[in-house]
């Protein structure tokens, strides 16, 4: 995953992005857009004969509109800086990927980023309402508008999650939310991931929609404790970290109900933070989980698969069997509320063959997810890494149809070639498009 591009362009304005695109196109050079480069599927990986257009310099907040609960930002603005700019007024931007202190809004749009709290609040696609986009011919167009229902096809739905294949976002209008009145957090430990998985299902079955439910297994807990010094017990099989938020009476009720369910599901211990600092520490532990793996393994391979929530226990057992069979440890830390697994395959790159084995196991995990009716990616995207698995999930006709969307925006496929689609697809001419003959237009002849 290391490629040296022909050139890197760092524009400061939409016009400069458009100019760079036009120059590249004139010379037939492919273009890879790049945000902060934090993606985990190689979506912003350069191509050797192409240019990279980095949006890092476009990092200004342009307008805050509390009346309409909207904010206009440039694509290079860091996710957390959006919330920081409006926190004093009691507002925030909901999507919160674990990399939110470094990843950019433009990259979030490309990947349709999620995060722990998208269980209740939805993904980037639910929170970005309009965007200024540079198309592959250098034209600048505004998608979406100031209303909840723009006219025509939902091109924002095409744009968000398109992984840099259809246009370069330079500015975006995002929804901002009033902070919830109250958030209750609790941390519960269990003998194994079976009980923890059952607990999640029962909480949801009780009609509770938590803001977030995160699960960590024993290996993940060990790494987090070593890296962040949280005082979590090491002799447990799994832990859940959960937020419920909303209005005060509702939250007090649901938090109490959820804790009761956890106890009945076999929780060893339930802890509630006594203040904001303790709560922040619990979440810091969870959000630094990937980086913490360095404490227990020289290298790790992070996977991102989705399964139906009710299958968590079964799938984790299959992953454990795979781990035992292949001989590499797998730590699990993930968004349990929506079945979004992040198995971390631990390996040592210095030992010949282990890297390839880790990658192989990552692929096997994805196949397990697909077999249980899930998906090959919940939030990290397909990028360069998972294009080969798209055929496990979709038929050739499905992929051809998705390619229609790409070709409508970028018929020359100048943007981000080699990503998402498993095999190069041409756009071709539109077969048999209906165009009236000149004689028809003149009223000399008709059809039928």
């Amino acid at each position: 995953m290391r490629v040296r591009p022909l050139a890197v362009v760092l524009p400061a304005t939409t016009e400069e992005v458009a100019a760079a695109v036009r120059v590249a196109r004139r010379h037939g050079v492919p273009i890879v857009p790049r945000g902060a480069g934090t993606g985990l599927s190689g979506g912003a990986l350069p191509v050797a004969d192409g240019i990279v257009i980095g949006l890092a310099r476009m990092n200004r907040v342009l307008a805050v509109d509390f009346e309409n609960r909207r904010m206009r930002v440039q694509a290079g603005v860091i996710n957390l800086d959006v919330s920081r700019a409006i926190a004093a007024a009691g507002y925030y931007y909901a999507p919160d990927p674990s990399s939110q202190s470094v990843c950019s809004i433009g990259g979030n749009i490309a990947e349709n980023s999620g995060g722990a709290h998208c269980l209740k609040y939805g993904f980037t696609v639910n929170h970005v309402v309009a965007a200024t986009v540079v198309l592959s011919d250098g034209e600048v167009v505004e998608l979406g508008d100031a209303t909840v229902d723009p006219l025509g096809y939902d091109l924002m739905a095409a744009l968000v999650g398109s992984e840099g294949l259809i246009g370069i976002v330079t500015e975006a209008v995002v929804r901002i939310l009033r902070m919830p009145e109250l958030t209750r957090t609790f941390f519960a430990t269990f003998p194994s991931t079976d009980e923890a998985g059952t607990c999640v299902s029962k909480i949801v079955a009780a009609g509770i929609v938590p803001a977030a439910v995160e699960m960590m297994d024993a290996l993940a807990i060990e790494a987090i404790v070593k890296a962040t010094h949280v005082d979590w017990p090491l002799d447990v099989g799994a832990a859940l970290l959960m937020d419920v938020d909303g209005t005060s009476a509702e939250v007090e009720h649901t938090a109490a109900a959820a804790i009761e369910i956890a106890k009945r599901a076999g929780a060893i211990e339930v802890r509630m933070p006594q203040n904001d600092a303790e709560r922040a520490l619990m979440w810091k532990g969870r959000k630094s989980a990937f980086a913490a793996m360095g404490r227990i393994s020289p290298n790790y391979y992070v996977q991102d698969g989705v399964i139906p929530r009710s299958q968590i226990s079964r799938v984790l057992r299959e992953i454990a069997e795979l781990s035992a069979r292949e001989g590499l440890r797998v730590a699990n830390v993930f968004h349990a509320g929506d079945g979004n697994l992040h198995p971390l395959v631990l390996y040592d790159a210095r030992i010949p063959g282990q890297e390839a084995l880790a990658e192989h196991m990552g692929g096997e995990i994805l196949r397990i997810c697909v077999r249980y009716g899930g998906s090959i990616t919940g939030e990290h995207g397909v990028g360069a890494d998972k294009a080969i698995y798209m055929g496990d999930l979709f038929t050739d006709a499905d992929l051809e149809t998705m390619n229609y969307v790409r070709c409508a925006f970028d018929p020359a496929r100048a943007f981000n070639p080699g990503k998402v689609f498993p095999t190069p697809r041409l756009c071709g001419d539109i077969p048999g498009a209906y165009a009236p003959h000149a004689s028809e237009t003149a009223g000399v002849a008709g059809r039928g």
């Binding site: 509109d65 229902d149 006219l151 909303g246 007090e252 139906p308």
Partner: protein
């Protein structure tokens, strides 16, 4: 308020699907496939014969968009009404396009679950039609529209191929988002065959607070206040009648939270000098909504930025009410959406009023759409959609890729797509 002597009948909420269902366009042949294989076969055969195709579910939205230019084949989805897969513990359901919203909800209710969509006419409106027209009700304020609820779709393409996008899990970013692209596409990109949706628990209880008389300015203030107070209503609906508004705010959830929120909202209203009353009727918002939306023979949907409610009233709704008989409107204040209905009055130039209102709405960066057109002459007087968005050339290119010969619902969508 004027009354014309011979008022024309209100447009129907639903029409019987027949060869005469579309205003001004005679349908060639109607087919009612019994399963999705038959439907795909039918689409393939239409492609081979270069026939134009339209779709009908419960007949509640056949007046949407421009009248189709030509319909050789009309596909009725009423026999495609199966629940394909209902994973109650995962709160996800996949159903065929022809199932009615009411039939689906009744199945889900047995597991204390629901699709959080309170679109009008649930006994007739079908899932496919709801997706195609992006239909919604006042609970959109809390739960979003179908765009926020759909997680998967299968389409039968113009060439007869069956394809799908999305999946059966709520969180999924594999491939382009065909499910959301299908929402609001009016059957112009493919036949919607099945839809997969995320579900919500049926709330333990609900409680409404009604303010029988207030102004639009007071509605705007109350919305601002309840957001500042961090209240989380499930639905808000302001019903307009003769220039005055009645506001209903509905809270849903667990009993303790609902009654606390209703109390706090009532206090906000009282502080403004208004008289809030509590109403225990979970169907309350639906009944207000339907009373105003299934009405009249001129029906409009207006979308503006949600902070522009006063301008919406003074520059659009009051202008329309002055030119149309017995006008009613409902405003969804947190969304900036209004549905307006009234009777075309022979003595005033209603079309001129619609154009004036549209100009004002477009100046607010909003849009005004003519709905339910059951008389082809209406669409000649007032364009259905108004000014095309700057991204329209991209929309045309999207349509050209999905349906190169423009055979699906020809001419019915924005810009004649």
């Amino acid at each position: 308020m004027r009354r014309t002597q011979a008022r024309p009948p209100a447009w129907p909420d639903a029409v019987e699907v027949s060869t005469a269902s579309f205003p001004g366009t005679q349908v060639g042949t109607i087919f009612t496939p019994g399963d999705l294989y038959e439907a795909a076969e039918l689409m393939r055969s239409a492609a081979e014969l270069d026939q134009t195709v339209a779709f009908a579910g419960g007949g509640t939205k056949l007046g949407f968009g421009y009248p189709p230019q030509q319909v050789d084949v009309l596909v009725k989805t009423e026999r495609l009404a199966r629940i394909v897969d209902y994973a109650a513990s995962d709160m996800v359901v996949e159903a065929e396009a022809g199932i009615t919203l009411a039939a689906l909800q009744s199945k889900l209710a047995s597991h204390q679950q629901r699709l959080a969509l309170d679109a009008p006419n649930p006994d007739r409106a079908t899932l496919g039609g709801l997706v195609a027209t992006n239909s919604f009700g006042p609970r959109r304020a809390r739960y979003g529209s179908l765009r926020d609820l759909i997680v998967g779709v299968s389409l039968i393409r113009a060439d007869g191929s069956r394809v799908r996008g999305g999946g059966k899990v709520v969180k999924n970013v594999a491939g382009f988002d065909l499910p959301k692209i299908a929402v609001g596409s009016l059957g112009t990109l493919g036949m919607i065959a099945t839809v997969t949706l995320r579900l919500h628990p049926v709330p333990e209880t609900s409680l409404g607070v009604r303010i029988a008389a207030c102004t639009i300015g007071e509605v705007q203030t109350l919305v601002r206040d309840l957001i500042a107070q961090q209240l989380e209503p499930a639905a808000l609906i302001a019903a307009r009648w003769r220039g005055a508004y009645a506001l209903v705010v509905l809270f849903e959830g667990f009993a303790a939270g609902v009654s606390e929120q209703a109390e706090r909202f009532s206090q906000l209203a009282t502080q403004l000098g208004l008289r809030p009353e509590r109403i225990q009727d979970p169907k309350l918002t639906e009944s207000i909504d339907e009373a105003a939306r299934a009405y009249g023979n001129v029906r409009l949907r207006i979308a503006v930025p949600p902070g522009a409610l006063e301008k919406l009233e003074h520059e659009a709704l009051s202008v329309l009410a002055a030119a149309l008989d017995d006008a009613k409107a409902v405003v969804y204040p947190t969304l900036g959406i209004a549905f307006f209905s009234g009777y075309a009055d022979a003595r005033t130039d209603w079309a001129q009023a619609v154009l004036q209102a549209r100009a004002a709405v477009e100046a607010l960066r909003g849009n005004l759409v003519l709905l339910d057109v059951h008389d082809a002459t209406f669409a000649e007087k007032v364009d259905v959609y108004g000014t095309l968005p700057p991204s329209f050339p991209l929309m045309r290119r999207l349509k050209d890729r999905f349906d190169p010969a423009h055979r699906l619902n020809r001419g019915r969508f924005l810009g004649g797509l």
